[in-house]
């Protein structure tokens, strides 16, 4: 099963209240037993003085330059998943994918020395479920 | 502002909804009344959906989380029968929300 209709997380920055729940729950989802926004695959850029908040996360683009850039094939599309996933054990921490992403949506876990990419939580994104403002939502590409 | 019936004259009261009713907060309704009509009767005559919502939020609960004021004075639900309207009253319905 391939991802014929691309599904991804879209954002509506005007609605974002800057609560960072998305970051906190994302980190816990992928690291049970803790919460640490530095391990989140979604990051909110916040400018408090003007209350301008921007949740930024991978759009699962079909070109996947991240996968193309990886020199050790640590980023692959697993069978049935349809989107590129970072395999942390294989990743050497070179950050080529971080450089390659045109949206700046690849993050880096300093602790684990591995790249961080949204994996869509296997279909039911945790961040979207917890956003109180509909600032992030699931979109299906045309 | 809405009117319940098309009458141009006659005594009427204004009900201001200062909490969400029928999906909106901060709206009002003018209701024609018969002089001496109890407040409870006016509530019962409102449109079915609104009447139901009032019953649910203001009348049925033993200690309703919403309050009713008539001309700036709080009226508890046990008094709705006793309050007789003359036709110029300002009625407001509000949430008992003090989160300051």
């Amino acid at each position: 099963m391939t991802n014929d209709r691309r599904r991804y997380i879209e954002s509506n920055p005007q609605n974002c209240s800057g609560c960072r729940l998305c970051e906190l729950v994302c980190s816990t989802k992928h690291n049970p037993g803790m919460t640490n926004s530095k391990k989140a695959r979604i990051r909110v850029v916040i400018e408090h003085r003007e209350n301008k908040n921007d949740p930024r996360v991978c759009r699962q683009c079909p070109e996947h330059p991240c996968l193309e850039a990886c020199p050790v094939e640590a980023i692959r599309i697993p069978p049935g998943r349809g989107i590129p996933i970072v395999e942390a054990e294989v990743c050497t921490g070179c950050r080529a994918c971080v450089e390659a992403c045109p949206g700046g949506f690849m993050y880096f876990d300093e602790d684990a020395n591995a790249a961080l990419k949204c994996d869509f939580c296997g279909g039911d994104p945790e961040c979207v479920k917890n956003c109180p403002q509909n600032a992030i939502f699931v979109k299906t590409a045309e | 502002m809405g009117t319940l019936e098309g009458k141009d004259s006659g005594p009427r009261v204004t009900i201001r909804f200062l909490a969400p009713f029928r999906g909106r907060d901060n709206w009002s309704l003018e209701v024609p009344i018969t002089p001496g009509e109890p407040l409870s009767s006016v509530f019962q005559r409102l449109e079915a959906g609104l009447c139901r919502e009032l019953k649910e939020k203001v009348i049925d609960p033993p200690h309703p989380p919403f309050g009713v004021n008539v001309n700036g004075k709080r009226v508890v639900k046990d008094q709705f029968e006793q309050v007789r309207l003359t036709g110029s009253e300002q009625i407001s319905i509000l949430a008992l929300l003090v989160g300051g």
Binding site: G18, L21, N31, T35, S37, R49, N130 | P65, L97
Partner: protein
């Protein structure tokens, strides 16, 4: 046993002239279960560090930035609390704030940051995980709190979370606040002045760590449960839509809105400054605290875009709106931004300005004394001119800059009668003559004239039978409302978890502690005892400073004058009513009826002997 939720450390900082000396200490496990964190554990620290020989502006008086095990977790709105001995009251002060700093303190690896001593010249602290540095702040001294934060964000990167004191703090105004994320304040009681007395302009924190969670799967389900509670709640929707400003509607409806220095309980201009007008005229977007499902702050723009601020909260609309006779929401937003920029508490500031206005209208002050300001109620331009003067202690501003108690002492001529404070702390946005239990709440709040311990206004009479114009049942209600806050203020999470938004109960709170920290056997009953313990501990602190029954009182206006309007019209509270409420309250708390001092039995029952020792009578 490894505890989750906590960072596990107290950071103990000594500002020593041109350098900083610091050490970390583990949390004391035998105290931890008894006091948990936040207000509870912070009270323990302050009890040890700032006794009667330490004056509020002495170097030895600590600023303690406290968090709890729940802070920084994805549960509900995270808060931190600034704990110190107040320059305004000389008593225990706990002042809460939202903002990202709450989580960042934990992520940097600390549960509490204790700051003592004094810098030789204007400085700021830079804390990045285990790196603690004292840096030059001479380029920031004199700057507004807002500009200071912006400058530091540019210098340090936006990942640094900053706590700032404004010009008022630098000038040791005893109701100077501290600010973070521009628009969040630890508002009350003068934390900003304590920082100013240390020549400490800011504290910047940056952390790369996280927080361990005992049962993260349980928390995942619990969050969805909280979201459901919110959807089914009575007031959740209103809370998000209007924030605290909806209170303008509810308090007006029972005639307890402070108007013109608490001369009235209703304000004819209320429609022009209520929540609906705010939303319609100046609201732009929502802002939320770290981790909060119900973002309730209103980011507004006013005065043709020249004013932008997250606010005004209800208290600001009351104290700097109806209480000063101003019926223009844009003006109130302007006052809010001025207070944020200069770093003063909007409640105390509004209260003392209203006091000055009443003095002026009564002829106790003339225009020469007020530097030419026409201080009639309603004069918005005068209020806007006066706020900076107070912060800078300029001219007539300096008459007011030490708070309303001192202002009345200076002006005299009977003005003490309408100097509206308890224990020196200016009273906030609820007129107790229309809700007598609120009077008891003010008289017995830990930090003085404060609404954040109990707020017995508009409580539906389900669990409590009380009397808005008598004393029956009031003591029990006030005690229970005070106790309900404690487990959340030790957590520290936002009070919105309670009746007015999520409607979580003590069993829910116990579940939160169980899932975050791993205390399998924690119960609602235990939290109830915790609440009594913390409340009595903070009372012991105040007793040690000299507080007795005679200080648990109200301004003469509240006790002896009737309200001229609203449901309270013509009724006089009287000393007898207050005394009866106090008698019952002290009995419930286990404090001596005569003196208001916690009895030795109570101290023993609440496991406080070790901490408190024996109290003076």
């Amino acid at each position: 046993m490894k505890l989750c939720g906590y960072a596990g450390k107290v950071l103990d900082i000594q500002l020593d002239g041109e350098k900083v000396v610091w050490k970390t200490e583990p949390l004391e496990e035998k105290i931890l279960r008894r006091l948990i964190g936040g207000r509870g554990y912070g009270a323990y620290l302050l009890y040890r560090l700032a006794g009667p020989t330490v004056k509020p502006l002495d170097p030895a008086n600590p600023v303690i930035l406290s968090t709890g095990p729940l802070t920084g977790t994805p549960l509900a709105g995270s808060k931190f609390v600034s704990i110190t001995k107040s320059p305004l009251t000389g008593l225990f002060l706990d002042s809460y704030s939202g903002g990202e700093l709450a989580g960042e303190i934990k992520y940097a690896g600390y549960d509490h940051i204790v700051i003592r001593g004094r810098c030789a010249f204007p400085s700021y602290l830079y804390i990045e995980n285990g790196k603690i540095e004292l840096r030059d702040a001479s380029h920031l001294w004199g700057q507004s709190a807002l500009d200071t934060e912006e400058t530091l964000k540019k210098e340090l990167g936006s990942e640094a979370k900053i706590l700032v004191t404004g010009p008022a703090g630098e000038n040791l105004v005893p109701f100077a606040c501290v600010c973070t994320d521009y628009y969040h304040q630890s508002g009350r009681g003068g934390v900003g002045a304590v920082m100013g007395s240390k020549n400490l302009k800011a504290v910047a924190v940056r952390g790369s760590g996280g927080i361990t969670l005992a049962d993260s799967a349980g928390l995942e389900r619990f969050r969805l449960y909280l979201i459901e509670k919110f959807k089914k709640s009575n007031y959740g929707e209103l809370r998000v839509k209007y924030g605290t400003t909806y209170t303008t509607v509810s308090v007006s409806s029972i005639g307890v809105l402070p108007t013109r220095n608490f001369q009235q309980g209703t304000f004819e201009g209320i429609e022009k400054i209520n929540c609906f007008t705010m939303k319609e005229k100046i609201w732009e977007s929502d802002h939320g605290c770290l981790g909060c499902q119900a973002p309730c702050m209103n980011f507004v723009r006013g005065r043709k875009g020249k004013v932008r601020v997250a606010g005004p909260e209800y208290e600001t609309i009351a104290l700097l709106g109806s209480n000063v006779g101003v019926d223009d929401i844009e003006a109130v937003a302007w006052f809010n931004e001025l207070c944020d920029a200069y770093g003063v508490d909007t409640i105390s500031c509004g209260n003392v300005i209203a006091f000055a206005m009443e003095c002026y209208e009564r002829g106790l002050l003339d225009q020469k004394t007020t530097d030419g300001l026409d201080l009639r109620f309603g004069n918005a331009e005068a209020v806007g001119a006066l706020i900076p003067k107070i912060a800078k202690r300029e001219g007539f501003g300096n008459w007011l800059a030490d708070g309303v108690r001192k202002a009345a002492e200076r002006i005299g001529k009977g003005s003490e009668h309408f100097s509206i404070h308890v224990k020196g702390m200016e009273i906030p946005g609820y007129e107790p003559r229309g809700a007598y239990p609120m009077g008891l709440a003010y008289a017995t709040a830990t930090r003085g004239g404060c609404h954040r311990r109990a707020k017995p206004v508009e409580i539906p009479k389900n669990r409590f039978q009380y009397d808005n114009f008598g004393y029956q049942g009031n003591a029990e209600m006030v005690k229970k409302l005070q106790d309900a806050r404690e487990p959340i203020h030790c957590g520290i999470l936002c009070d919105a978890l309670l009746r007015f938004c999520f409607e979580a109960d003590m069993k829910d709170v116990a579940d939160m502690y169980r899932m975050v920290v791993g205390w399998e056997d924690i119960s609602a009953q235990e939290l109830s005892t915790l609440a009594e313990r913390v409340y009595t501990l903070t009372r012991c602190y105040n007793v040690r400073e000299g507080t007795r029954r005679k200080d648990d009182t109200l301004p003469p206006r509240f006790l002896h004058d009737p309200l001229p309007d609203g449901p309270g019209k013509g009724k006089i509270m009287g000393d007898d009513t207050l005394n009866r409420m106090l008698d019952e309250y002290y009995d419930l708390r286990g404090w001596d009826r005569r003196t208001g001092v916690p009895t030795p039995e109570t101290i023993r029952r609440l496991d406080l002997e070790e901490i408190v020792g024996s109290l003076p009578e």
